[in-house]
């Protein structure tokens, strides 16, 4: 196993760092340590946040120290490889591609000398791993976009992209969970809501889950949207 590094993030947070790359092997170790630490229920730990290659443990210095946390982590790390890989959860995300729902689809297809249908087929064929969730509630950082769709970001960001937009930027694909500026190319739109504090699971995805995009028609999209707003009214 690669050597892990322990770094003080602050006077009350310790980073356990597993490597320097974005890759599945490293990210799996991050999540495995998260799981193992949760099982231990370590006193004074107030928050554990996994990211691509780091696990950050926040603690209350009155009851816990970084030195002790390192001692807690060491044996857990030695046994990580023996841990059962967690059950793979794939979340299906319905997307209407193109038209008014994905204004950049035709441009992107032309750029890569593909037809719009081919872009849709390539984009919806893979299961994308969610390496981490952050930035905003339920926002998934995904990896694994097909090379044929790698596209440099826009030189001038689009000032207002609506929430639910499915896009491509660099070597990644993503779904915007809040309306805002973005330098990505948007090829479709999903009716799903990614974060809802009223639900027992307040986000649709967790780190380590997978996303599979499923092409749907505009009619199906509108139907789904109506259902979501009806549910909202009931609450």
């Amino acid at each position: 196993m690669e050597k892990v590094q322990y770094i003080h993030a602050s006077d009350c947070a310790l980073i356990v760092s597993f490597g320097v790359d974005i890759c599945e092997t490293i990210n799996k170790k991050v999540l495995a340590l998260l799981k193992a630490l949760e099982k231990e229920q370590v006193a004074g730990v107030v928050e554990i946040v996994p990211t691509y290659r780091d696990l950050c443990i926040s603690y209350n210095p009155l009851v816990q120290t970084a030195e002790n946390l390192i001692e807690v982590c060491k044996p857990l790390l030695n046994n990580l490889n023996h841990e059962e890989a967690s059950e793979k959860k794939v979340v299906e995300v319905p997307v209407v591609y193109g038209g008014e729902y994905g204004l950049d689809l035709d441009y992107l297809a032309a750029l890569h000398k593909l037809s719009p249908e081919e872009v849709i087929e390539i984009h919806s064929a893979l299961e994308y791993r969610i390496y981490m969730v952050g930035f905003a509630p339920g926002f998934p950082y995904m990896g694994g976009l097909d090379e044929r769709l790698h596209t440099p970001r826009r030189e001038v960001p689009n000032p207002k992209v609506p929430s639910g937009s499915v896009g491509i930027g660099g070597k990644q694909t993503n779904v915007l969970t809040i309306t805002g500026p973005s330098g990505w190319w948007y090829i479709g739109m999903t009716p799903l809501v990614f974060a809802d504090v009223e639900k027992e699971d307040p986000t649709l995805f967790k780190p380590g889950d997978y996303i599979k995009f499923k092409p749907i028609t505009p009619e199906e999209y509108e139907l789904h949207k109506e259902k979501v707003s009806e549910q909202g009214e009931k609450q």
């Binding site: 602050s10 947070a13 998260l34 210095p61 509630p137 504090v197 307040p202």
Partner: protein, 318 residues
């Protein structure tokens, strides 16, 4: 049974319901939130006999006006805006009995950026994801997920006027020692890193030896600073996105440091040069635009003692 407590007559620029923060959901992208100055909130709660993580009102700068809708025991802490009840200045950092139909206002600035009102029994709002704090960006928690407006009415779970909790004071010298109100520049202690490789010896020399000023770009998410530009090492300003801790000092490409506060995004991609130590966050939360600060480096091995020292001061108010 819920009782109407406080009616908003004038909300000021930003009045929100905050407790000590929302924990356990940052891995799903939910921000920490909570009182910017939790020293003040925790003491306020202790003065009125609440658990210290109970929710109170955070007021930003002056000009708020409220009407009490019931008798209550309250404490006003944090920034001093010469608080008045029915036109008469009342003491801060002390638990007070207030009468129904009296009016509290915050007319004038003495010092600080955030004042707190804590009430015996705590504010009666529904906890969301285990916290009563307002998440302004995702618009949930606190009072309807937003800042207060004129006409809003806050409630408490019930009226409790136990006399044991009236007239309790927090010692003045401890308040001064915590905030150093008149220090200019204000010294802020930091630990170095975590992303030290993205900086050079020269970067650290700039950070620790020059004076910075809080710019007009400041809010509950963070404070952008003005001052000497901090250069990065050959690795540049970007890192693989990771966790952002409270008080992290990140430096984007332009070289101006930003200190991340309670409403920061849960993750970020700028390398963090240093991190403000926990006991100094409340000092910083009380400073505003134009205030000058100096960063002072402390070794990580000393920080636990400083943390415990601060906790002992808070625990003195039992």
């Amino acid at each position: 049974m819920s009782v109407q407590f406080l009616k908003v007559l004038r909300p000021g620029i930003l009045s929100t319901v905050q407790d000590t923060g929302r924990f356990g959901y940052q891995r799903l992208g939910y921000t920490q939130s909570g009182a910017m100055d939790d020293f003040a909130l925790r003491i306020g709660n202790r003065l009125v006999g609440n658990p210290e993580n109970e929710a109170g009102l955070e007021l930003t700068y002056i000009d708020e006006k409220f009407l009490f809708a019931c008798d209550a025991i309250i404490a006003i802490t944090g920034a001093d805006y010469y608080p008045e009840i029915n036109g008469k200045v009342v003491p801060m950092w002390q638990s007070l009995l207030v009468k129904k139909d009296s009016i509290i206002s915050f007319p004038d600035w003495k010092y600080g950026a955030r004042a707190y009102i804590c009430v015996r029994g705590g504010l009666d709002v529904k906890p969301v994801l285990n916290s009563k704090s307002t998440d302004l960006k995702s618009t949930f928690g606190g009072y309807m997920g937003r800042k207060l407006r004129a006409g809003d009415v806050l409630s408490i779970p019930g009226v409790d006027l136990t006399s044991d909790y009236i007239g309790r004071c927090f010692p003045e010298e401890l308040i001064y020692n915590n905030y150093r109100w008149h220090d200019c520049p204000l010294s802020i202690r930091v630990t170095l890193g975590p992303e030290r490789d993205n900086y050079t010896e020269k970067s650290y020399k700039t950070l620790l030896e020059s004076e910075y000023e809080i710019s007009e770009k400041l809010d509950r998410q963070g404070y952008q600073l003005k001052g000497l530009r901090i250069e990065h090492s050959s690795k540049g300003p970007n890192i693989i996105t990771n966790f952002t801790s409270l008080g992290a000092v990140q430096v984007p490409g332009a070289g101006n440091p930003i200190i991340l506060m309670k409403d920061r995004q849960t993750t970020g991609g700028y390398a963090k040069i240093a991190n403000v130590i926990s006991p100094d966050i409340s000092k910083l939360a009380q400073r505003g635009m134009g205030d000058k600060i100096l960063f002072e480096s402390v070794d990580i091995s000393q920080t636990r003692e400083l943390f415990i020292e601060q906790e002992k001061i808070i625990a003195r108010q039992n």
